[in-house]
């Protein structure tokens, strides 16, 4: 078995091992998921030295060389995103130790399966394989959203199931067209074959694939599933949605759009257009929300807009800024959703008008939320500043109007973050707040993410260098040469 596939194999094994090991005591589900995730993280880290020295490692499944066999491609971009996805899930598993008290077996199995899907999508070099992993991730997500089994959860899950199924059907149709035209499923091989084609079906198939992925990325007008799902799912799961699954959608657009379809100007134009709309409308919609998780959900749409707009500029700086913002917003949003999860755990409500004066009882959560929020706004010394600064410069080089819009949205971001912070943590204490102590298993993930935000914020040159290396992974000719070697 290809070594690059090992983290996925370990997590897949863990997902199926959890129900067996926790037959007698379902607490074993937590320990098994924790161990499996830790093992996957260590294996991923062990690949870093080789990726740094060689730039890209290509594994062929069962010695079937590309384009015939399935390839696993590990490069700077995929390894960083894989590690980040595993880290966020790992922290969520720790956080959930005290949060989830019932049906642990199902919960942790589904978490591991969602991660398997996300990792598979990140590392695969085969477009049909990408669809399969997307389905694995989606099916696990539908079940996770419905986990609470109450009416909003079931409604959100069914809505996402129908919209997600429509998206994956479109994706599959696009892949089928591509396979019909080129006779291959390997992304590098498809890229070579369509480069000399003038068949309009290529554009149509890309349109279908892109629409499917845009639904997963949650860009407006394909976003309707996102706020409901974030609100209705168990709170730590929202953290995984914001930090892992939605990011995987935008990553898939990058991979397929830049490597297979050679960053076609139609893609860039569309990404910029949808990015601006999502950025502005997402922020305004976040401002009028009364539910904390819904507010953060719309904020995710707005941040996805920043990423799409920046990537859509098509310049090296724009793509670097966009990729860096994928990482930063994953960390920030995971932290904010974990804070929201703790607030829900303590107060049993996520309505921001029902919670007040929380700072007195939970300064750790309050400071974590404030740091995450200010980083999301893009304040210096936090990681959000670095990526947003790159995005501002990149837009300024292409079209200053976009910079003005981005800055305006930043002000609105500050408005909704301060609104949420003020209502939840400041003001008079309402009876809903209680002095329930924050468990250490909930404190550790939050503090880890806060530390990451600060470290990445005070070392901008290192993070920019890393994202530049990740941008180089999207160089098409090199990718094709190395995969088809």
């Amino acid at each position: 078995m290809a070594y690059g596939f090992l983290p996925i194999g370990v997590l897949l094994g863990t997902a199926f091992l959890i129900p067996i090991l926790s037959l007698k005591n379902d607490k074993f589900a937590t320990y098994t998921a924790f161990t499996g995730c830790l093992a996957a993280m260590i294996i991923t880290l062990s690949m870093v030295p080789q990726v740094v020295s060689e730039g890209r490692i290509v594994y062929h499944m069962e010695s079937w060389k590309a384009p015939f066999g399935i390839t696993v491609v590990i490069d700077n971009l995929s390894i960083v995103l894989s590690f980040l996805s595993i880290l966020i899930t790992f922290l969520v598993i720790i956080f959930s130790y005290r949060y989830v008290k019932e049906r642990r077996t199902k919960y942790y199995s589904l978490l591991c399966l969602a991660l398997v899907g996300a990792l598979g999508m990140i590392v695969t070099g085969d477009i049909f394989n990408m669809f399969v992993y997307l389905e694995v991730m989606s099916v696990a997500s539908y079940a996770l959203i419905a986990f609470n089994k109450d009416r909003p959860a079931l409604e959100a899950s069914i809505k996402y199931l129908i919209m997600g199924s429509l998206a994956t059907s479109l994706l599959l149709l696009g892949i089928a067209f591509l396979y019909g035209i080129t006779g291959t499923l390997n992304m590098a091989d498809i890229s070579v074959k369509i480069s000399s084609m003038t068949n309009p079906l290529v554009g149509i198939s890309f349109g279908l694939i892109l629409t499917g992925m845009l639904v997963k990325a949650g860009l407006i007008p394909f976003h309707a599933w996102l706020p409901d799902s974030y609100q209705a799912s168990p709170s730590p799961v929202s953290s995984i949605f914001a930090g892992v699954t939605t990011n995987t959608g935008i990553y898939a657009i990058l991979r397929v759009g830049f490597l297979v379809f050679n960053s076609h100007h139609a893609l860039l134009w569309l990404m910029t257009f949808l990015g601006v709309i999502s950025m502005v409308a997402g922020a305004f919609l976040a401002l009028v929300q009364t539910n904390l998780k819904r507010l953060l959900g719309y904020s995710s749409i707005s941040q996805m807009g920043y990423i799409a707009m920046s990537v859509g500029l098509g310049t090296s700086l724009g793509i670097t800024g966009g990729i860096l913002h994928i990482i930063n917003q994953a960390i920030i949003k995971s932290l904010l959703f974990l804070c929201a999860a703790f607030i829900v755990y303590q107060t049993k409500t996520d309505n921001i008008y029902e919670i007040s004066g929380h700072f007195k009882f939970q300064p750790v959560v309050a400071y974590s939320f404030l740091i995450g929020g200010l980083s999301l706004v893009g304040l210096p010394l936090f990681n959000g500043f670095v990526s947003k600064w790159l995005i501002y410069i990149a837009t300024l080089q292409i079209n200053p109007v976009l910079t003005v819009v981005a800055l305006m949205v930043t002000v609105i971001t500050l408005a909704y973050i301060l609104k949420a912070f003020y209502l939840i943590f400041l003001g008079n204490v309402k009876p809903v707040a209680s002095e329930k102590k924050i468990p250490i298993t909930m404190r550790i993930p939050m503090i880890t993410l806060v530390i990451l935000i600060i470290i990445l914020g005070i070392m901008p040159s290192a993070t920019i260098k890393l994202s530049e290396a990740m941008t180089l992974s999207l160089e098409r000719t090199k990718y094709i040469a190395e995969v088809l070697r």
């Binding site: 069914i158 309009p200 349109g207 394909f222 008008y353």
Partner: protein, 103 residues
């Protein structure tokens, strides 16, 4: 004083800012319900309850929300699955048209 482009730009900038200010002024002149207690001039020395001096966060962004008709934007998110599927299909048609035209 000798005319320079910098002065010209500054005057233009000032003019545009004034114009924006005037627009906002006329928008804000629209009649709205006045809070009598907040309109009363504070002379010093009066005993005021903290909640009366406080700006309620619930209404802090009300003007922004009214200005951009955000409630309408919220109404579009009806929660109706049919509407949401229609959005996706409309988006799909737009994406396909753009792809075919620009490919």
């Amino acid at each position: 004083m000798i005319y320079t482009p910098y002065i010209g730009n500054a005057v233009l900038f000032f003019f545009i800012l004034s114009l924006i200010g005037l627009i906002f002024y006329f928008i804000s002149r629209k009649p709205h319900k006045k809070d009598k207690e907040k309109q009363t001039i504070y002379i010093c020395g009066e005993d005021m309850k903290p909640e009366k001096l406080n700006i309620p966060p619930e209404t802090f962004y009300r003007y922004l929300i009214n200005l951009f008709k955000l409630k309408k934007l919220r109404k579009w998110h009806s929660g109706n699955l049919n509407d949401y599927l229609l959005w996706i299909l409309a988006g799909l048609v737009a994406v396909i048209i753009i792809m075919v035209m620009l490919w």
